[in-house]
Amino acid sequence: MSSYVSNTEADRAEMLAAIGVRSLEDLLTPIPESIRLKRDLNLPAALDEAAVIRHLQSLAAQNADLESHRCFLGAGIYDHFRPSVVAYLAGRGEFSTAYTPYQPELSQGMLQAIYEYQTLICALTGMEISNASMYDGASGLAEAALMAASITERGQVVVSQAVHPHYRQVIATYLNSTGYQMVEAPAGGGVSSLEALRAAVGDQTACVIVQHPNFFGCLEDVAACVEIAHRAGALAVACVDPIALGLLKPPGEYDVDIVVGEGQSLGNAMAFGGPLLGFFACKQKFIRSFPGRIVGATVDRQGRRGYTMTLRTREQDIRREKATSNICTNEALLALAATIYLCEMGKAGMRQVADLCLQKAHYAQRRLLELPGVSAPFGSVPFFKEFVVRLPVAPETVNRRLLPHKIVGGLPLGPYYPELADGMLLCVTETKTKEDVDRLVDAVAASLAEPETAKAF
């Protein structure tokens, strides 16, 4: 028996007797015969623990992971170093096997951690309030759009095309189903076009959404974007990289109204893209429209400080169809990991990580641009840890050729931006040594020199 069941046959017999039935069957009478499953589920037979581990190990071994390969992909998921303390602490059963802290007296550990998380997100972003987490960056951004629509009572959302293509897809999916409208404002030269944004906004614009650094890794003129939004009576929504905020001016200082981002970088695994951590912060004045759980400090009967979920009346379990969001389960454990990560890094560490990313990405870009035929499509626009290069050989081909070098190359941009079909988006974080970058550059050089085979491109 491998079902983790604690009761023995004898226990079961005693329990059925206490219930007053002869068999389990008697308890299942409410289920009509016609819909009873009269066979075993068609699933593979049970495996013992050792066998299940071997099986999963063999599946895992089919993947090119960070222990076997150096990976230069970014685009929303990042290979940042995760100090050993993070996984150990966040993996403690008291945190991981608890439910949402509905009963605060038994959940002070998680509640205090989330209160600290909210404080840290506010500190990083320069905003006044943070919620306890959203599903991920993309759905967080979609929730921001809906929140802006509800605050402004307007139905159009303007999104720069320099925002992550997946995020735009998710916003569009959310908005489509509600009758709201998404307008994409073209980007140019690696950044959002201010003219395009200005042209797109109008008196029905609920918010303007930009990403900073944007999908191409470039810095945006956030102040100008915010101004465009505010002039139109719309809210300004920024999607940010929390690692970049170790160096960059926080969105709060640009008067951004809602700040959203993907928190995976903060101590969480790349995990093939999930689970992820959407962080979500805004100005205090929007608190009644704010989606998601929020933890607040309060006192107990003896006046001691304690923490509890608060402002619950915004939420689905109380407000039902009038709730500010339908979110219930969120990403608490990833928020905890982010909290641990930010404390372990601290002021100096976060600055250092950001600076290392900056330096290494620039070193890599400089070295790659020395290769014949490799060029920078966006000139000298400032970038953080990601950058685009144009390649004289199809990026997909280059990537295929990098694999034998145990290198996972950057993202070919063609599928997202046809005008950048020869473009590759590379990411270089603090986990890459100079040697790693030099090996990448050598391997790219070799890939470019290789004659095209029938299969390539």
Binding site: V5, I77, L146, K347
Partner: protein, 493 residues
């Protein structure tokens, strides 16, 4: 002993992480990024690694969890979260993988996604599955989107009403509303089940769907489910199953066979993945063929061609009727790994055993507590959970369900779910799960009986509970009145 905030331990100049130095030529950030783009300060805490370890170890000890005790939180299926799941999910081949890697470098990951999609479809008797939703409510929202697209495609975009029983979880109406539907509530009948007459009356050609939880939130199986589905279908609507209570049905009965068109699973309930103190989860959604075209992209497919024998897995994004995307990538992959590990560990027999024992455990609690408390909707067989009511206690001595819950803490137990479902006054919703032993259930039952006695003999001790927790009852009203949502000293420092 209380634990200060990490900010209160900060010591300027102190640091934890041991980071690399810069090994490439250094250029000042103000040159690379422009001085204007840089932040002047970074108000984060400054503590050593030892302080970090101690702080979060101590915080963890201030948290109740399945690993520390019985957690009969109704509707949440707090079963044992096997440690082997953590081991497999922690394998670098899964955890240290980038979602945009070339497919040929992630075949093992794609295999897990594909096989789990298939297994879940089999468990619920439907056609296809997406793992993209990050939680149950996310799955509900997705389903609403798909239902909307389905009706629109059939030229019935006017169907803008979703029917939801009054016993439903709050996410149901919230998800429907989030998708632009109007919500109409269907009352429950005296047996705690959907009132068929009320349903019939509500059904017209503006109804897009009925959202139904089965077993419902009173822990009762909707015995008329076949008829209910037929009625909705005849009115041109679709039927959504909130699968939060799937644990009761594993290997016993399947929503797809009942007539449901679409459902969500909570892998973080039924399939033993840890709830993480609030998340992450995975709200996988399975559909019948009619909704299959609308699933979000990408879907994982298995291909076996004559040229390339041996299975290959790939993402398919080319699905013109798909509603689009609802997640940055493919959903909570590591949760999928855990659920896959669980299903492979249990097999078909193990899953059925889980379901059966969940039902026995819940009925045992029901039978043993039927004297001390009211059982909602009479003392009839329940499925995986039982809903008690503290109406009698409230009437007799003013002891409410919340008081009983707080008092349970003093006995070392996590309380049941309170005040849900809304249709049961003073609800105490108890879901023991199959992984708890009779010994544990007996101890819990005795505690409940003892509290019932206290409610009569010494109600004040119950009303003032908890007495043995790290903090006593917290003032939730004050929390709303004097909003304190972050430690402000740090940001203004």
């Amino acid at each position: 002993m209380s634990e200060p905030l990490i900010f209160e331990k900060s010591d300027p100049g102190c640091h934890g992480a041991n980071l690399p130095r810069c090994d490439v030529p250094y250029t000042d950030p103000s040159v690379l990024l422009g001085a204007d783009n840089l932040r002047p300060d970074l108000p984060l805490p400054e503590v050593s690694e030892l302080e970090v370890v101690r702080h979060f170890t101590r915080l963890s000890q201030r948290n109740y969890a399945i690993d520390t005790g019985f957690y009969p939180l109704g509707s949440c299926t707090m079963k044992y979260n096997p440690k082997v799941n953590e081991r497999t999910a922690g394998l670098p081949g899964f955890a240290a993988l980038h979602p945009l890697q070339p497919e040929e470098t992630a075949q093992g990951a794609l295999a897990v996604l594909y096989e789990l999609q298939k297994m879940l479809a089999e468990v619920c008797g439907m056609e296809a599955t997406t793992l993209q939703p990050a939680a149950g409510a996310h799955g509900e929202l997705l389903a609403m989107m798909m239902i909307k697209a389905y009706h629109a495609d059939r030229g019935e975009a006017h169907r803008d009403i979703v029917l939801i029983p009054d016993s439903a979880h709050g996410t149901n109406p919230a998800s429907a509303a989030r998708c632009g539907f109007k919500v109409r509530s269907i009352p429950s009948n005296a047996q705690g089940r959907t009132d068929l007459q009320a349903l019939a009356a509500a059904l017209d050609n503006n109804v897009a769907a009925l959202m139904l939880t089965n077993p419902n939130t009173v822990g009762l199986f909707e015995s008329d489910i076949v008829q209910i589905c037929r009625m909705v279908h005849e009115a041109g609507g679709l039927v959504y199953c909130d699968g939060a209570n799937m644990n009761a049905m594993l290997g016993i009965t399947r929503p797809g066979d009942m007539g449901f068109d679409v459902m969500h699973f909570n892998l973080h309930k039924t399939f033993s993945t840890p709830h993480g103190g609030g998340g992450p989860g995975c709200g996988a959604v399975s559909v019948q063929p009619c909704l299959e075209p609308y699933l979000p992209v990408p879907i994982v497919e298995k291909v076996e061609t004559r040229e390339q024998p041996g299975a290959r897995y790939r993402f398919n994004c080319d699905r013109p009727r798909s509603i689009g995307k609802i997640h940055s990538f493919y959903g909570a992959f590591l949760i999928a790994v855990r659920a896959y590990t669980y299903i492979r560990s249990l097999g078909p027999e193990g899953l059925r055993e889980a379901g059966e024992n969940a039902v026995i455990n819940a009925n045992y609690i029901r039978a043993r507590l039927a004297d001390a408390f009211e059982v909602a909707y009479g003392n009839q067989p329940c499925m995986h959970e039982v809903v008690l009511s503290a109406v009698r206690q409230k009437q007799q001595s003013g002891v409410r369900a919340l008081d009983i819950s707080k008092r349970l803490m003093d006995y070392g137990f996590h309380p049941p779910t309170n005040y849900f479902p809304l249709i049961v006054p003073e609800a105490l919703m108890i879901e023991p799960t199959e992984t708890e032993s009779k010994q544990t259930l007996d101890a819990f039952i005795e505690a409940m009986i003892s509290i019932a006695r206290e409610a009569q003999e010494n109600p004040e001790v119950v009303k003032a509970a908890p007495h043995r927790t790290v903090v006593s009852r917290l003032d939730e009203t004050a929390a709303v009145k004097n909003l304190d949502l972050r430690y402000t000293a740090v940001c203004e420092a």
